[in-house]
Structure formats: C-alpha cells, structure tokens
C-alpha cells in the first residue's frame, strides 16, 4: 500500500469515528439512545435480502453521480451543480425515451441515455466557460444554474409533458425497462435493485481506470494539483477544465437511469431529493477515488434507506446532519493526519 493510500485510509476511518461520535452526542442530547438508533439502522438495512437490495438501490445513483464529481474534483473544479445537471439530463433522457418509442429498444435506449449525458454535459459547460472567460468561481454559477434549471424543467414539464395533476412525464414503454435483481434472485424479493447497479459499478471501474491509469487522467490530476505548473509541462488547463466539467456533469446526469429505466419508468420533478449534494459528501469521503466511492455510496445508502426505519425514533433529517459532519470531519482530519504522518511514511 502506498503511503498516500495509507494516509487516506487512516483519515477516512478517523473521520467516520468522529462523525459517529458527534452524531451520537446529538442523539443523546435530544434524549434518545444512539445504540438503539444505530442498531435499528443497521438491523433494518442488513437483516434481509430486501434491506440489502434497497441499500444497494439507494447507493446506485450516488455511485454514478459521485464518479462524475470525482472527475471534476480531481481537476480542482468544485462542481456543486449536480442537482441541476441530473434533473436536466434525466428529464431529457425520459423525454427522448418517450418520443423514440417507435424505434427498436437497442436504438432508442442508447440514444436516450446519450441525450441525458449530453444535456448534463451542456449544463456543466456553462459554468466552465464562465470560469475560464471571467474567472468567476463555478460554485456560484453552478448554484445559480440549479435554480434556473429546476425552474425551466418545471415549466416545460407542467406546460407540455406532464400527466395531468402530477409532476411527472408519462411512462416509457415497458420493453425499455431494466430487469430487477429480484427477477433472478429470490433473495432480493421486493427490492428495486436493478441492472443500473451493475452499470454504476462499471462506471466506477472505468472512472478509476481513466483517472489513475491513462494520460488524460494524469493530465486532469496535474491541472488540479497545480494549474500553473501544468502549463509548463505543455497542458492547456482551460481546455481541460472545459472537457472535464462537461464529462463530469454528463456522467453525474446518468444517475437518472436508476429512477427512469430501473424503477419508475418516468421522470418526476425533483426526484433527486438532494442527491447532487449527498454525492459531494460521498465523493469527499472517498477522497475522490472511484473505488472508494462504491463503498462510501453504500454507506450513504444505509443512511438513506435506514433513515426511513429510524424515523419513529428521531427525525430522518439526521441523515443531512451526518452528511455535513462527514464532509467537515474528513476535511479537518485529513489535513491533520497528513501533516502528522507525512514524515513518518516518507511521502
């Protein structure tokens, strides 16, 4: 194990412990037992095939979006607009799937996925251009775009496509729907886990390969590590930032597949429910490593699914607290651990 990986593992473990400790204190303060809460959380998640299936189902879109963010974060692009990128991309994805229903599935399906990817990418392209041309931080523009896109999607959905008195599109044709795991394995009976989970794992593997094993990935990390120095080795940071923003936002948008093709069969307004922000915590906890992302997404899948079960004990909004705590503790712990251990491991 490389020194860097060792440092990362140590800081991830410590920050998880801190997060659990602080969350426990909060639970005690409001007069509940942390043992009972965490016990119920894990029992509910892992005591049945259904629970495990649901956890992995919840983790699926997180893995995909977080991988998209990992590309951005490696290039020091702090994309916090995934929420808008996913909604725009998924809306178009469902739309194309509905409009192309006359084509055979092997054509209409890839085309609608591609349309979703491109839409997400274009939404990522706008803040990239503003960042390059005007030097305005992508944090501000991506947040503004989240509001703008949600309003636009709302407008087009309600005025042209929505099923009467709902906030969703009509259903895509049944033969475009992905198979559920429960169709093959009785173990997952009743859970919504579907093929998109496998797709998410493939995306994670590919992202890992691209980021760590190809020249493009090396360039991304070089630009992210030191923009000025990367120019001296012949890279064009501006160009690369635009590409990465497009790619990252496009991948993030693919998360909609899980909901559309794997679960409901339609786009529903704001189905993401904070997915784009939870994915930030997932990515940071994994130190931007796509393999780590799979595990941290599953952890958040437990919180998401188990949160419903503990709602009778404490408000399920505790999940948002944990999310924030994870980010703050990984940031601080990593900074401290790196300083303390750098000499020891000789990196």
């Amino acid at each position: 194990m490389t020194p860097k990986a060792k440092i990362n593992l140590i800081s991830i473990s410590i920050s998880l412990i801190i997060t659990v400790a602080l969350t426990s204190i909060l639970i005690i303060v409001i007069g509940k037992s942390p043992v009972e809460v965490f016990g119920k959380l894990f029992l509910e998640s892992f005591s049945s095939g259904y629970g495990i299936g649901q956890v992995l189902f919840k983790a699926t879109p997180l893995i995909i979006t977080a991988c998209g963010l990992a590309f951005c974060f490696h290039a020091s692009i702090f994309n916090i607009g995934a929420e808008g990128q996913i909604n725009a991309g998924s809306f178009v994805m469902a739309l194309v799937a509905i409009k192309l229903a006359f084509l055979p599935v092997f054509l209409s399906l890839p085309l609608s996925i591609l349309a979703g990817f491109l839409t997400g990418g274009i939404v990522g392209y706008i803040p990239a251009i503003i960042k390059i041309k005007k030097g305005v931080s992508e944090v501000i523009t991506t947040i503004m775009l989240n509001f703008i896109i949600m309003a636009l999607v709302n407008y087009f959905l309600l005025n042209f496509m929505a099923v009467k008195s709902t906030m969703r599109t009509e259903k895509i044709s049944d033969d475009m729907m992905f198979l559920k795991f429960a169709n093959w394995f009785e173990f997952f009976h009743g859970s919504s886990l579907n093929i998109v989970f496998v797709f998410a794992l493939i995306i994670a593997a590919l992202s890992y390969f691209i980021i760590y094993k190809t020249k493009f990935g090396y360039d991304i990390r070089a630009v992210g590590f030191n923009k000025v120095a990367s120019e001296y080795i012949g890279l064009e940071p501006s160009n690369l930032i635009i590409k990465v923003f497009f790619l990252g936002a496009g991948i993030a948008a693919l998360a909609g597949m899980n909901f559309i093709f794997g679960y409901k069969g339609y786009y529903e307004y704001n189905f993401t429910n904070n997915l784009g922000f939870t994915a930030i915590a997932v990515t940071l906890l994994a130190k931007n490593n796509p393999v780590g992302i799979v595990f941290s997404a599953i952890l958040f899948g437990v919180l998401d699914y188990g949160g419903l079960a503990i709602n009778e004990l404490i408000p399920k909004e505790i999940m948002f607290v944990v999310q924030g705590l994870v980010i703050l503790s990984i940031l601080s712990v990593n900074s401290i651990v790196e300083r303390k251990l750098k000499g020891r491991f000789g990196s």
Binding site: S137, I140, M144, F147, A151, E317, F320, V321, I327, S332
Partner: protein, 302 residues
C-alpha cells in the same frame, strides 16, 4: 398597465430600498473576509443559521433583543470554527465553505423537525420592534424605523472608511493582498484573517435575522441562494463597498420586480418569474466587463 402603475409607486421604491439590506449585508460579509484573504462561500449557510437561531429563540422567548444576540453569538462561534478550518488548518476554503453550508442546511433541517415537527417552517414570530421616533415618518416609516436597514445603509460609508482609512482596514487588506510583506512589518496576518471572518459571520447573521424578521418565521431553504447572489454582488462590485452597494441595488430591484410581476398577475409563467434573480446573476456575471480581480492572496492559505 397594472404593473407599470406598481413600478412607479412609492411602495415599489420603498421595497427596493428595503430589499438591498440582506444583499448588502451578505456582500459586505463576504467582502470583509475576502479582503483579509479568506474566501467565504459559507455566507449562505451563515445567513441560514442566523435566521434559524433568531426565529427559534424568538418563538420560544418572544424577546427580539435576546434573539438577535443569540443569533449573533452562534454565528461568531461558527465563524471561529470556520477560522480553525481555513486559517489554522489551511484547508481549501471553497470546499470548507460548501461543507459548512451543507452542514448548516442539515442541522437546521433536523432541528426544525425536532422543535416544530415540521419540515417546512417555524411557528409565526413577532415583528422586530421598530425604532420609536423614526417609525412614524410617512411612507418611509418601515424604512427608517428598521434598525437593521439603518445599519446596512450606514455600513456603506463605514466599511469604505474602515477598509481605506483605518489602521485595522489597511492591515486586514495587507493580509489579503500580500501577507508576506505584511508579516515582515510585524502584522499578525492570521489574527487579521480571523477578524475578517468574524466580521463576516456577524454581518451575514444580520442579513439572516432581517430576512426571518421580514417573513415572521424561519422556513426551510428561505435564504434561497441569496448568500451566493451576495457573493456575486461583491464580485461585480469589484470588492469595493460603494460599487458593491450599486450591484446590490440592482439585485434588490430585480427581486422587487419579481414580486411586483407575481402580484400583478400578468400571466407571465411563474417559473420564469421565480428564476429571474438567478438568471440575472448569471447574465451579469457573463456580461460584465473584464476578468475579475480579487485581492491577490484571496483564497491562498497563509
């Protein structure tokens, strides 16, 4: 026609002049931190936190002064925590800022549910009392009688004076422009950066308190990006108090326009009206001339 009548009314003017308050307080908050060299993306979170603390304390005690004090106190505590992250541990300021925003969003969502069993808002709270003599001025009573609005207006010349004419302001700026040179003159750079962040926490608290007071409650997501728009106003105003004020005037105008269109019932799609402030922000950021030029050491840990 209805809309035109609204736009030329005194009430519209008052709503623009009042509406500057949270933007200018938020933008000044961001500015004091950045002139000291620390980017504070957490303005949105700080505003949210103060609005929440104020409304909760207010609904339990009904005491406006106590509630304002509590909100300021909590924000100072969070500013100190923010300083530990950015100044002491030298963690990436943008990531820290977003982390704070998400944490504050989470804890307020959770506590809102815990205290009020509602995912949307607190109970109705009383108005912040107006200043006795000034509130009876005709038409503008709600303007001059409001102590936070008055403070925001005084802040424009005050922050200009502090940043350009006082020892404190010049030292703060040296922390943001050239910390090495400042330190060689004996200035404690890190302390000044912390002061900048503390001022930032206090000013954004006032912005949040004012907004909660205006709508007589705290509701989830009520700041709705105003903290980020305030940062945009600071950028457009090129980190100068007077220019920032003008930028905020523009955002306040569009916010008032948004409300005017909404209430006049022009038949314009509501979604487009709602996205107006955000669209304007992006368009202005795209359109305004030249690349932005923040303080030289802005965002660079020291």
């Amino acid at each position: 026609m209805n809309l035109v009548n609204t736009l030329i009314s005194a009430a519209f003017l008052v709503s623009v002049l009042r509406g500057i308050t949270p933007y200018f307080l938020g933008a000044s908050a961001a500015n004091f931190s950045e002139r000291g060299g620390v980017i504070n993306i957490a303005i949105e979170g700080f505003m949210t936190l103060a609005a929440f603390t104020f409304a909760v304390t207010m609904s339990f005690t009904g005491n406006a002064a106590l509630s304002i004090f509590t909100a300021l106190f909590i924000n100072v505590a969070f500013s100190l925590l923010y300083s530990v992250f950015t100044v002491k541990l030298k963690i990436d300021q943008i990531v820290t800022g977003v982390g704070f925003n998400l944490f504050i969003e989470g804890i307020t969502k959770f506590l809102l549910m815990y205290f009020f069993h509602s995912s949307s808002n607190t109970e109705r709270i009383e108005d912040i009392p107006l200043i006795p003599g000034l509130k009876s001025i005709p038409l503008f009573g709600e303007f001059f009688g409001d102590s936070i609005i008055l403070f925001a207006y005084l802040l424009m010349p005050l922050s200009f004076f502090i940043l350009n004419r006082t020892r404190f302001g010049l030292r703060l700026r040296s922390a943001g422009e050239n910390p090495k040179a400042g330190e060689s003159l004996g200035i404690k750079i890190r302390s000044y950066r912390v002061y900048g962040i503390m001022i930032s926490g206090l000013l954004s608290a006032l912005a949040g308190i004012w907004l909660a007071g205006e709508q007589n409650s705290y509701s989830d997501f009520m700041i709705a990006g105003r903290g980020y728009i305030a940062i945009a106003a600071m950028i457009i105003g090129k980190w100068k108090p007077v220019n920032i004020f003008i930028a905020c005037l523009m955002f306040a105008f569009f916010e008032a326009l948004q409300i005017a269109i909404q209430t006049s019932g022009t038949g314009f799609p509501t979604q487009f009206i709602q996205m107006l402030p955000y669209l304007i922000t992006v368009l202005v950021l795209i359109g305004f001339i030249g690349k932005t030029k923040p303080p030289a050491a802005d965002g660079v840990p020291y």
